[in-house]
Structure formats: C-alpha cells, structure tokens
C-alpha cells in the first residue's frame, strides 16, 4: 500500500474507532427523530383535547348560521347574560374561551368590538379561523345592508394564477421556485455542516500530532504534504461514512416510529386543521403531483455532478486551511484567532444563499458570490437548480480549482514549518514569514 493509503487508513480507523464518534453516529439520528416526534406528538396531544368555546351573542349575529362543531372544537351558546357573568361562568366550567359579540347599531362598530376571552393567551390559528368565520357572517350582513346580492358576488369571483415560463419555454412557478430553493439549500447546508464538522476534526487531528510530539517521527518517514492530504481524505471518508449511516438510520427510524405511533405522515405537514377544513386535502395531492413534476424537470444529472465537484472542492479548500491552522498553533484555544477568516466566507456563503439566491437567483450578488471561490461551493449549489449558464459554471469551477491548488500549496507551507514550531503563539506576520522558509 502506498504511504498516502496507509495514512488515510490510519486516520479513518482512528476516527471511526473513537468512542465519541461511534456514540454520535448511533445516537444523533435517534435524538433527531425523537425530537421531531416529540414535537409532533405534543402538538397532537395539545389538539386532541376538545376545546369548548362559549359564545355570548348579544346581537344574535350567528343565529342564522351558528358555528359548527368540529373534531377539536365545540361551541356552547350563553344567552341572557352580562359579559361579566358569562366570563365567570366560562371560567368556572373551564371553557377554553369566551367569544362576545356586542350589540351595536352599525355593523362596523360590531366588527370593532368583538372580544375573545381566554384563560391564557389563545392559539393563534384558532383565533384566526374564528375571525374568518365571524367576518364572513358580518360581510354577508353588510352585503344585505348595501343591497348587494351575495350570490352574484360568488358568481363574479374569478381566480387567476399566472403561468410562469422562461423565454426558452421552461415553465416555472412560485411553488417550483421554492422547491428549487429547498434543494439548493439542502445541498448548501449539507456542505457547510460537513466543512465545519470534519474540517474541525482535521484541525484537531493535526494539533493532536503536535501535542503528542509524534509529528517529527512521522515526517521523517513521509512528506508533510502526504500527511496533510492523508488526514484530509481520511477524515472526509469517515465523515461520508457517518453521513451515510445517519441518512439511512433517519429514514428507517422515521418509518419505524411513524408505524409505531400510528402517526400519519400527511398530518406532520398539516398539524393544525382544527376549525376550518378548507378542503386542503385536494390541494395537497395536487401539490404533490406538481412536486414530482418539478423534480422530474430539474437538471438532476448536472446537479449531481456539480454537487460532487463543489462538495469535494469546497471541503478540500476549507479543510486544508483548517490543517494549516492546526499546524500553526499548539492547542485548540489558540486556534480561535485564525478561525475568523474561515468562518466569515462560510457564513457569507450561507447568508448570500439564503437571501440573494432566494430573491433573485441570477442577480448580480448571487452571480458574483457563486464565482468567488470561498463562497462559490455553497452559493453555486443553491443556484444550480434554477439553471446557471455554462460559462458561469466553468469560470466558477476553474477559479475553485485554481484557489484550491493555491490554498493547498499555502497550507502545506505553513503546515511544514508549523508542525515543528512549539511554544509561541504565532501571529499573522509570522505565518507570512514561514512562507519564505
């Protein structure tokens, strides 16, 4: 086996045999899935208790069309009572809330003076749906007062959704855009997570070799560059293994837990369907079909290839910087001062991705940052689903590779000198001097 192979193998083994790594690999999916289900479960438990809402309708507004009970809410009318008495009564009987519609001459005054009393601050969704209902009834009244036939209004209602398309005929929609943003963001965040976790692990591994003083023995056998690359690749392989295990485990666990708790997957997306059942189910299945259609239209092969290129390029670029920092310092505490220049472009990439790309995937900010090497892996991955001109991809990749080569050379120089330097906390000026050694 070549020396690089030996180093990669050792780095990989020492990483995956580490107890903390094993525990994290196994425990993290359980924790994540458990948290998701805890939230869903709690929301469900919250909703499953039937809420009773008392209605004191002094105007008798709802007499013609009373509020209909639903699965989670039931309504009780309170008649011939003052507001104070109704409040007392509602509190004694532990009703969820009390809706008070006062008596006024003008419909506008009624609308302004409706009160909803609860013990604690109420569920916002529930209030909104109640408001919607009461508003509807009030509107009908107003129509009548103005002498407008509400049936005609219904008939006159026209819906229009624009059909979006590019000049070349590629169809798009707002929904399609958000699906694309979703895909891009997942890729971008995944890369950022990977860089932060495993780049750091490369750095720690370099520092460990320095503090245990084995470094001089190793580099009397291999070139520092080989050692650095071995570390970066070994850690990446360990990371990919961990990510793969996480992915498989999370999917399995979600299905297992869903089956066990009997939670319907569609409910996770729509946890609150209490007062108004607006026939959204039909909507969801239509969205689902559109979703599949959008995915089938995405440039999947290109996305896959570019994901691999930017993932590798971005990781190698950043992890070589992490390795150089590890070599420059004696312990992790000292590394903080050099972390800024790494974290800054990484964060910038994520923020540009989150704001500029979402607003305008082909705007100048998104375009420029998808070319600058330190931010390009994240930003370009977010832009790719929207279709990026070939020349931009080529320029971006060329710059990335060029910078990668330069950074590795730079990092290797700092690494070569730094691993044998002990005792003093280096400054940027000193690092610059090392480049001349």
């Amino acid at each position: 086996m070549s020396k690089l192979g030996l180093i990669i193998k050792r780095e990989f083994n020492s990483k995956v045999r580490n107890k903390a790594f094993i525990i994290m690999t196994i425990a993290a999916p359980f924790i994540m899935v458990a948290m998701v289900f805890l939230i869903v479960y709690l929301t469900k438990a919250n909703d499953s208790k039937k809420k009773t809402i008392a209605v004191l309708d002094q105007y008798e507004l709802l007499k013609a069309s009373p509020l209909k009970d639903s699965k989670t809410v039931e309504y009780i009318s309170i008649n011939n009572s003052t507001v104070e008495d109704a409040k007392k009564q509602a509190e004694e009987k532990e009703y969820y809330g009390l809706l008070v519609i006062p008596k006024h001459e003008k419909i506008e005054d009624i609308a302004k003076n409706i009160h909803f009393y609860t013990k604690k601050s109420p569920n916002v969704m529930l209030v909104e749906s109640l408001e919607e209902k009461v508003e509807g009834t009030l509107r009908q009244l107003k129509f009548k007062e103005l002498g407008i036939d509400s049936e005609k209004i219904k008939l006159a209602k026209i819906n229009s959704t624009f059909n979006l398309a590019t000049y070349t005929g590629e169809k798009s929609s707002k929904f399609a855009n958000s699906v694309k943003v979703g895909f891009g963001s997942i890729a971008g965040y995944l890369l950022m997570m990977f860089i932060m976790i495993y780049g750091n692990s490369v750095m720690r591994s370099v520092i460990e070799e320095k503090t245990s003083r084995i470094i001089e023995i190793i580099i009397s056998s291999v070139k520092p560059f080989q050692l650095m690359m071995g570390k970066i690749i070994g850690n990446a392989l360990a990371g990919l293994t961990q990510f793969a295990i996480w992915g498989i485990m999370i999917v399995l666990l979600i299905f297992a837990a869903a089956a066990y708790f009997g939670i319907n997957m569609s409910e996770i997306q729509q946890p609150n369907t209490d007062v108004t059942q607006l026939g959204k189910m039909g909507d969801i299945s239509a969205k689902g079909q559109e979703f599949i259609k959008i995915i089938s239209e995405l440039p999947k092969l290109l996305m896959g290839v570019l994901f691999i290129i930017y993932f590798l390029g971005g990781y190698l670029l950043y992890s070589s910087l992490y390795a150089a920092i590890g070599a420059a310092v004696d312990n992790e505490t000292d590394s903080q001062q050099f972390m800024m220049p790494i974290m800054f472009p990484l964060m910038l990439g994520v923020y540009v991705g989150a704001f500029s790309v979402v607003n305008d995937p082909h705007g100048p900010v998104a375009t420029i940052f998808s070319m600058i090497p330190l931010t390009s892996p994240i930003v370009m991955l977010m832009r790719v689903p929207f279709g990026v001109p070939a020349w931009q991809i080529i320029v971006s990749i060329a710059l990335l590779i060029g910078t990668f080569v330069f950074t590795v050379w730079l990092a290797a120089k700092i690494y070569r000198v730094g691993i044998l330097m002990y005792g003093k906390k280096p400054t940027y000026k000193e690092l610059f001097k090392w480049l001349r050694y």
Binding site: L6, I7, R10, S14, S212, R213, I217, I218, R436
Partner: protein, 308 residues
C-alpha cells in the same frame, strides 16, 4: 576511511537567522558519531536536514556516496529529542504502522516487532494503548520503533533523557550491539559522560558553524597541554613547592588521596616527561604521576569559549 554519511557545506537560513553556516561533517561507517554543541547551535536543524524533514538552502548530503534521495528514509532511523506516539493507538498496531511508513512490509514489521518484544520481555504490551504505559515504557517502545526497520544509519537526539539508569544501560548496550552488527550511529547529546563512553568520533557545532570534527582520541591529543598531575611526599611541602616553582610552570592540583602529599599540575613544553620524573624522583617520593588528558567536557567548553 569509508564514510556512510557526508554533509557538504550545508547552509540553512530561517528568515534572517542563519541556523547552519556551511557545515560539512563526515560520519565514518560503523562508528558512533557524537554531534555536540550548546543549545541552539544548530544540531537539530542539521539532523532534520539529514532526515529530509527540512531542505538545506544550499549544500548537499550524501549517504553511501550518493546524494540523499527521498527513498533513503528507509535506511535511517530517527529518535528525536521531543518524542511521543499516538496516545490512543495500540502499541503493536502503532509500531507496525510506523514501520510500514518506513517502507517495511506488514509481515516483516510484525516479525521484527515480535523479536524485539521478546528480547525486552514486553510481549504483554502489544495490545495496550500508549496512554496506559509509563513514560519510561513509552520511551522503550519509541526506541524499538526507531530501530525496527533495521536502518543502517541511526540518529539519536538525547537518547537517554527519560530513562532511569537501569533502562539507560539496556539502551546503551543495544546501541553498542547495533554498532557491532554494522549500523552507524549519530548521537546528539549534552551529556559528556556518555560521549566519553560511547563515541568514536565527534563534531562540535557552535553558533551555526562547525568548529571541531574528528576522531575523539586525535582530538584529545590535539587538546592536551602536556600537563602532568603529580603527588609528592616530602617533609616540607612548602619548601619543595617554592623550589619547583622556579623550575617549572606549576599550579596546585586537587585530587583525592590518602596522604598529605604535595599535589601539583606541572606543564611541560612537550610530552617528554623523562627529565621531570628524574628530577622529582631526586627530590621526593612520587606516589602519583599521570598525564592530564582532557575529557570531552573540557574540550567542549574550551572549544566553545575559544570560538566565542
């Protein structure tokens, strides 16, 4: 004489600081070569250049007559002064890994490691993690790792630091054994008694320059001052002292003895002491007479002082 390793005019600068200023040393094959010098003189830099850890700015290093190649690392075993191993890696696995980095096959490494573990009777350490061993035990493993791939050139930087006297003796015997088996040893140290005991040749580096190099015996001859230490038994020490002061360059000497004799160091112009013995014999009873031979420590201090 055949030389295993030569450095030719090696220069190394770190920024504005010159660490080595044209150093040329010749290490005879099958010898123990002491590389000496005060702290910061440049010894470690020279050793690192021989190990190809750093590259010289100019000059060259020759191993067995050929300029040093990257593949030559398999012929060199290096035990640095600052040493350590992976703490959470098992002893056997680690030793085999490091031997394979030196180009050994897994099988050879395993066989060799077994041999040394049996020799030192430490077979039970094989599956222990480094962090479970004491410092002395770890040093022993380190020594085995250094010699595991049977290098023809061994470089030890302060090899005895960290060993108790018993283990230091074991290591010293192993170094002598390896030399007898054909290895050449470069030995960098501050401990002059071990230089005296082990080294055939020495080189002295001071302030980035080589100031002294050669066979230890030749160097001692060069540094001797034709001084003889004598012990004279007389009735009147003071009288004899006055008398001898007029004839020779003398000073009071200090050594342990049983009698209250007159103890002197007498310096002659050459190493012919016949005349001196004759004269002293006629004046007093000689119960101590020895030529003062400079030890490594004296030579070290003298050479460095002269150079400064």
């Amino acid at each position: 004489m055949k030389y295993l390793l030569k450095t030719d005019n090696v220069v190394k600068k770190f920024g504005d600081f010159t660490a080595l200023n044209g150093v040329s040393i010749n290490v005879p094959i099958n010898s123990i070569f002491g590389l000496l010098g005060p702290n910061g003189a440049g010894k470690t830099t020279l050793i690192r250049i021989i190990n190809q850890i750093t590259m010289p700015d100019s000059g060259a290093v020759y191993l067995d007559g050929n300029q040093l190649q990257p593949s030559d690392i398999q012929h060199i075993g290096y035990m640095p002064e600052e040493r350590g191993l992976y703490k959470n890696m098992k002893v056997g696995e680690q030793a085999i890994y490091l031997a394979r980095l030196k180009g050994m096959s897994r099988q050879d490494a395993r066989t060799q490691l077994k041999y040394w573990f049996d020799k030192f009777d430490i077979g039970s350490w094989w599956n222990k993690k480094m962090e479970e061993l004491s410092k002395g035990q770890a040093q022993k493993i380190q020594f085995i790792i250094t010699i595991l791939h049977k290098p023809k050139l061994l470089i030890f930087d302060e090899v005895f630091s960290g060993f108790d006297p018993i283990n230091a003796n074991i290591i010293r015997d192993e170094i002598l054994y390896l030399r007898d088996e054909g290895a050449t040893v470069i030995f960098s140290t501050h401990r002059m008694e071990s230089v005296e005991e082990l080294c055939d040749h020495i080189a002295l580096i001071n302030k980035s320059n080589l100031i002294l190099e050669g066979n230890l015996i030749d160097i001692k001859k060069e540094f001797k001052t034709n001084t003889f230490q004598v012990g004279l038994v007389t009735d009147d020490n003071e009288k004899l002292y006055q008398e001898l002061t007029e004839k020779y360059a003398i000073e009071k000497a200090n050594f342990k003895s049983l009698n209250n004799e007159l103890k002197l160091n007498i310096k002659l112009d050459n190493d012919d002491s016949t005349e001196l013995i004759k004269h002293l014999n006629s004046r007093a009873l000689i119960n101590h007479f020895v030529e003062v031979i400079p030890n490594a420590s004296d030579i070290f201090i003298k050479a460095v002082k002269q150079n400064n």
